[in-house]
Chain length 329, copies 2
Amino acid sequence: MADVAKLAGVSHQTVSRVVNGSAHVRPETRRRVVAAMGELDYRPNPAARALVTGRSRTLGVVSFDTTLYGPASTLYAIEQAAHAAGYFITIVSLTMLDRVSVLGAVERLRVQGVDGVLVITPQEGAADALVNLPAGVPVVAVEAGRPNSVPLVAVDQFAGAASATRLLLDLGHPTVWHVAGPSDFLEAQQREDGWRSTLEKAGAEIPRMLTGDWSPRSGYRAGLQLAANPKVSAVFVANDQMALGVLRALNERGRDIPREVSVVGFDDIPEAQYFTPPLTTVRQDFGEVGRSSLRMLLELMQRSGHPPQRVTIAPELVVRRSTARPPGA
Amino acid sequence: MADVAKLAGVSHQTVSRVVNGSAHVRPETRRRVVAAMGELDYRPNPAARALVTGRSRTLGVVSFDTTLYGPASTLYAIEQAAHAAGYFITIVSLTMLDRVSVLGAVERLRVQGVDGVLVITPQEGAADALVNLPAGVPVVAVEAGRPNSVPLVAVDQFAGAASATRLLLDLGHPTVWHVAGPSDFLEAQQREDGWRSTLEKAGAEIPRMLTGDWSPRSGYRAGLQLAANPKVSAVFVANDQMALGVLRALNERGRDIPREVSVVGFDDIPEAQYFTPPLTTVRQDFGEVGRSSLRMLLELMQRSGHPPQRVTIAPELVVRRSTARPPGA
DNA sequence: GGGGCGATTGTTATCGCTCACATTTGGCCG
DNA sequence: CGGCCAAATGTGAGCGATAACAATCGCCCC
């Protein structure tokens, strides 16, 4: 920077002003400085800048398995939005979502000097970790969180599950079975709640619930059980991957979908449309989740001390060919 | 840091030594300093450290659409490995992989002060961007690259495609159709080469090749064309998602898989095992790709001026139920 | 023509740390 | 018991930027 100043015949402060686009620099001076910067191939040192300003223009993202479609898409949208806002994203991915790992990750990011943190934590313990977070860095929870915790951006899981269940009921199915996600995932709980309370409201019998771990394999196992029960005519599965497994199991056991059994998934992964048959599912707009959460974090960073709020994003039921009226109807 | 030094009754330099785990500090002194740090809840400032040492302990990853299974898994493995090595990962994801965006992304990371960069760039223009990269930051290419470019870690696409094609030939199919990926992806080209040269070597007729864009939708379209041709008995599809589309199209047109038509995919995404029928495919070990590339980058950072090298990871053919002997056999 | 004022530009201190070197300490040996 | 050497600790100088304030410059107006 000193070299640039010398070459342009100005002080280093003026160079700084040009770099930061400050007003109060004569166009002619600015031109000279810009030319000097070009000639010397000068780039400001972010460490020096961070040292004096106290901010790094870097945001941290803590996420569970970024191999999964949901977190991956959310992360992607976050990165795009951050880029547009002039921020970098540094990511910490967790293999386990217990309280300790989440707190550790946030702390690690904080030490590293990020200006804010987004936490993509669908799991219960992880959400708890954010309840009494030591202050110091603005944090926004994404996809799931506790009330009275940090601000939250999430899709309305309850509504999504309810609409899926209602669809099946409306088609004439006497009741709807459910393959839930792991019970320690808040989203799994909320989807279960939406399913259960819709059945209750409709006065339908509530069948025994099956539980999987989000994987196609666990869906397959659940599907085998469902296939064994001739009374099963409609299934709401807590995510598309498990729904894929259910589809396979039913198919193997010779149950025709949707003529004999209707299946609804959740997420709308890109593959869902090409399952056999194309899967009726509940779409979550992960892109919007990512963008909203970034927007909220940026706001929180501006005027901190801002009261926790929550943004809810509506899911959308996508009807395809895995659902139909029940056999008798 | 000054406060810690005062509280512990030592100089700031001694505190620095303790923080950096340097030798030459008496255990008793170290204990006092550690206690003081704990009491004051002290954390070293990374910006200050980066300013003086010139390194940030941060690595950059430039990647194409991190929503796809391949890049997502690779990224995940990279992050895990980086974490273990004490590095942070900052990520830039690209929507387009042309020369300019890739160079821009690398430059952006460089300006931001990363110690090294990994570029996950399956596309041609992107790979070209790395050929005459301005020096300054160590760069390793992941998944695809040019000869005479930066060091590269990738799965042997040619071998994978060859093994898939050979499997089908060995089952007795007279020849093998191919649904390729976009022609500007190096991986698509290499898979095509593997397919073509295996057919040539076997003296089999080389059917007209179809091309998709990696999406299930494009696979579906290709599948419809294949279904219309009764001579098609074996198809090698360049990725699992397109294979899913092919499966659907064939199924819709009443072609039984694998009795009438055999299908092989590429990647082995987690869902592949639960397709209808479970997909025979070529597994790429993305985790290993991620770990190897990080290892290579770290090496490159140590002794720079190190000659470009390449690490090749062997793919693995996973035989499931979408392949069988041809109808006549 | 001098005063005044806003627009430019320069000066100095400082951010929190590590590096290089100077200094002190402590133990062992002759 | 003094001297010597290595181990332990301290001192001062930057790293490369921004912030706060000071100093000029130029122009307008009475």
